[in-house]
Every structure is written in structure tokens, then in C-alpha cells.
């Protein structure tokens, strides 16, 4: 990975779109400090990050119930309950992760990421191991949550619809060598919904993205 220049604005939803193996995950790991790198990342000291991994069953703690999983260290009772309510998880509060479906587990991971009160939330293909309809449902719920919370989000995806639907800005990454092919601003009005997928404006953006890869 070489010559990557990326500016992340506050409270912006960025998606990074590219083929498998193009270094999307590596990029996230480097920005968030989970992997070492040679280069310069200018950031405010003490930035706090949250991460939603693709592998929800390994990232949640199976010895803690849903509530304790999301409230891992911050002991923020009202916020935790509020998040559980928003994501429809209240009734599962006392369940252990392995008792939940994949979609619900990933929702718990998302709730945990928001509750950590981060400056940036990174999501690394969070929906790619879920079935189609679940991944679409979760995409909408994430969108609603973000519109309410307005955090800075960097979302990695190899699903073009998802990448455009969620984003303020799509960064297109190429494979071998990994570099930024371009970026496209998504000026679609919010709140957005699934009908947008067939909208002409959406399709035009999709074509622009496809031309870049």
C-alpha cells in the first residue's frame, strides 16, 4: 500500500469501496492504530476509535450478556438502554451472544461501537457475512442511528449499493497496487430509503463509481 491520501472530515460518513484483497481492511487497521505503518497520519491526540469487525462472533464476548457486552467499560446506563431500544435489542438484553442470530449479534457490536463514545467509528464489511435481507435491514438501521448520532464513520464495503446508499463520500480503492482511484460525493438527500436503489440519481452515481474501478 503506497501513496494513500485520505482526509476524513468530522461527522462525515465515508465508505471505502473496492474489490477483495485491495487493502481496505489494512487501511482501517492502520488509521485506527491497530496495525503499524510507515507514513504520516495527522490526527488529534487522544482520538478515540470504535471498530465493528466483520466477524461478530469473535468480536463479542460470549461470557457477557448483551447489556454487558455493549457497556464494556463506560457504565453509561441511560445511553446503553437508549441504544438497545433504538436497535430493538431491549428484549435480548440478558441473552448471551451465541443465543442470537448473526444479524442481532452484529447489531450488538454496532451498539457497542456507538456507546464507546468514539470520535471515529470504523466498520469493516460488517454485513458481508449476513444474508441479503438481513444486511439490508441492518444497513437501514445503521443509517438511522447515524442520522441521529452524527458520528464520523468510515465504512468499508465491497457491495456497491451499500457503499453509495450509506455514504456522504465514496472512496474507490483499486487492487494491486492499492491506491485511491477516486472519490465520489453522494449528494442524495437524507433520510434515505431502499426505494433510492432504483432512483435515477442513484444509478448515475453508481455508474460513475463503476467507471472508476
Amino acid at each position: 500500500m503506497k501513496d494513500i491520501n485520505l482526509k476524513i472530515n468530522k461527522n462525515e460518513f465515508i465508505t471505502i469501496f473496492g474489490p477483495n484483497g485491495c487493502g481496505k481492511s489494512t487501511l482501517l487497521n492502520i488509521i485506527s492504530g491497530l496495525e503499524t505503518y510507515n507514513g504520516l497520519i495527522k490526527k488529534d491526540e487522544n482520538l478515540k476509535f470504535s471498530f465493528v469487525f466483520q466477524n461478530y462472533s469473535e468480536s463479542l464476548l460470549p461470557w457477557k450478556n448483551v447489556y454487558d457486552n455493549i457497556n464494556l467499560n463506560c457504565v453509561n446506563n441511560t445511553k446503553a438502554l437508549d441504544l438497545l431500544k433504538t436497535l430493538g435489542l431491549v428484549e435480548y438484553e440478558n441473552f448471551y451472544p451465541y443465543q442470537l442470530s448473526g444479524g442481532l449479534q452484529q447489531k450488538v457490536a454496532i451498539a457497542r461501537a456507538f456507546l464507546n463514545n468514539p470520535n471515529i467509528i470504523f466498520l469493516d464489511e460488517p454485513f458481508s457475512s449476513l444474508d441479503y435481507s438481513t444486511s439490508r435491514t441492518l444497513m437501514l438501521e445503521l443509517m438511522n442511528l447515524w442520522e441521529r448520532e452524527r458520528k464520523t464513520v468510515v465504512f468499508v464495503s465491497h457491495d456497491i449499493d451499500e457503499a453509495i446508499m450509506l455514504a456522504d463520500r465514496v472512496i474507490i480503492l483499486s487492487n494491486k497496487p492499492s491506491k485511491i482511484k477516486g472519490e465520489i460525493r453522494v449528494n442524495l438527500p437524507r433520510p434515505r430509503n431502499l426505494k433510492l436503489l432504483n432512483d435515477n440519481k442513484f444509478l448515475r452515481i453508481k455508474n460513475k463509481v463503476l467507471k472508476l474501478i
Binding site: L34, K48, F49, E58, S59, P62, W63, N73, P118
Partner: protein, 247 residues
């Protein structure tokens, strides 16, 4: 209930095999299962019997508790600081390869002939098993979970308590299960070697010397049952405590 039927089935098969052996050998040192049954009834009448079981149980558990108190913290430490473990790897691997019964003169020399000389071998062996299993458990902590802990800025203590220990727990439990079996074997063997007043091992030796052959076999069966029960109680609580294991 199913399990009870399977146990009864197992007992019947065991008795059947034993009877065939007795019939084929015709030796006076092989009593029939009926004789052994009578020996067992006599045992229950014997005032020593309960003290024997109690004494062995206490030695076993004291040994196990000390092993846990040494083995788990050391295992956590070595698991976390793998490089330091490498320094001690040879010592640990060598010492745990020595069959402890061969060391009984040394144990007698150091710990005398009292209870300590029967507990020390249990500690000697079980500590290594618990330590090594704990260490593997710590090494096996999922990378993603460690990253999560880091992102959540958990303190070292909180990381160990909330992520590392629970993740290592199934491994620690596996080490404990082996240790329970070992501790019974070693307590009994050292009771036999070193001698004591009460203890399952001592009683078996005594019956042997007195030619109380049915009682001797009855006591051996008691030793087996004892191990079986302790092990099953442990597994029951293990499944309850480590409910997430294998899920």
C-alpha cells in the same frame, strides 16, 4: 434417566467380564463379584472406611488448591509474557516429564512422612498441568477481542479480568480436569509408598497384606467410584460456569 440406564448397563457388562476372568483363572486371589459385594458391605461397617475416604479427599483437594493458587497466576503471567516463558520452558518441560512416584525418596527426605509428603507430589505435578493449560488459554485469546479491549481503553486489570481470563477459562478447566484425576492417583500412590494412618491407598495395602482379598478389591472399586464421582461433579459445574464453551 437415560444416563442411569446406561450406567446400569455398564455395570452389568463389567460384572460379566469379571466373572469370566474369575471362571477362567480359578485362582483363590480372584473372588467372585458376589464375594467382593460382601467385602464392600463389610467395608461400610468398618469405622476406618469413612476416615480413609475423608483423608484422601482432603489431601487431594489441598494439593489441588495449592496447585491452582500457583499454577493459574503463573500461567497467566507466562501466557502474557511468552518470552519470559521461553527462559523457563526447558526446566518446566523437564520437571513435568519426571514421573512423580520415582521421586518419593526425595519427597520423604524433604517433607518427612506426614501429610505434606503426600500433598507435595500432587502440587508438584498438577501445578505444571494447570500452568501450561492456563498459558495456552491466554495465548489463544482471539486477536479481535484484544483489539476490542485496546479500542475500549480497558485498563490492564480490566483486560485480564474481562477478556483474558474468561477466554482462557475453558483451557484452565481442561487442565483442572486432568489435575483432578492426577491428584487422586498421586495421593493414593504416595499413601501406599510413604504410609499413613488413614487413606484409600493405605487401606488397599493393608487389605493386601492381611489377605482380605474381597475387601481389597472392594476398596479398589471405591477408589474408582470416588474418582468417577469427583470428575462428574466437576464436569457438571464446568458446563454451568463456562456456558459459552464450544458455542
Amino acid at each position: 434417566m437415560r444416563k442411569l440406564y446406561r450406567i446400569i448397563f455398564g455395570i452389568i457388562i463389567l460384572i460379566f467380564i469379571w466373572e469370566i476372568i474369575v471362571l477362567l483363572s480359578g485362582s483363590i486371589f480372584l473372588p467372585s463379584s458376589f464375594e467382593i459385594g460382601k467385602g464392600f458391605v463389610k467395608l461400610l461397617d468398618n469405622i476406618y472406611f469413612y476416615s480413609d475416604i475423608g483423608a484422601t479427599l482432603i489431601r487431594m483437594f489441598l494439593g489441588l488448591i495449592i496447585s491452582i493458587l500457583i499454577g493459574i497466576p503463573l500461567g497467566l503471567f507466562f501466557g502474557y509474557y511468552g518470552r519470559i516463558y521461553l527462559l523457563f520452558e526447558f526446566i518446566i518441560d523437564f520437571l513435568r516429564s519426571i514421573p512423580p512416584p520415582t521421586l518419593f525418596p526425595l519427597f520423604m527426605l524433604i517433607f518427612g512422612i506426614g501429610n505434606v509428603s503426600k500433598i507435595a507430589p500432587v502440587v508438584f505435578m498438577c501445578t505444571f498441568f494447570i500452568l501450561i493449560n492456563t498459558m495456552y488459554g491466554v495465548k489463544n485469546v482471539k486477536d479481535i477481542r484484544l483489539k476490542t479491549g485496546k479500542l475500549f481503553r480497558l485498563s490492564k486489570f480490566s483486560l485480564v479480568k474481562n477478556i483474558i481470563i474468561p477466554e482462557a477459562l475453558p483451557y484452565i478447566a481442561a487442565g483442572l480436569r486432568i489435575s483432578i484425576s492426577l491428584s487422586l492417583i498421586l495421593s493414593i500412590v504416595f499413601e501406599m509408598f510413604v504410609g499413613t494412618k488413614y487413606g484409600i491407598g493405605q487401606r488397599i495395602i493393608n487389605f493386601q497384606l492381611l489377605y482380605d482379598i474381597p475387601e481389597m478389591y472392594a476398596m479398589i472399586i471405591v477408589a474408582g467410584l470416588f474418582g468417577y464421582i469427583v470428575n462428574n461433579v466437576f464436569v457438571y459445574y464446568e458446563k454451568k460456569t463456562i456456558h459459552w464453551s464450544g458455542k
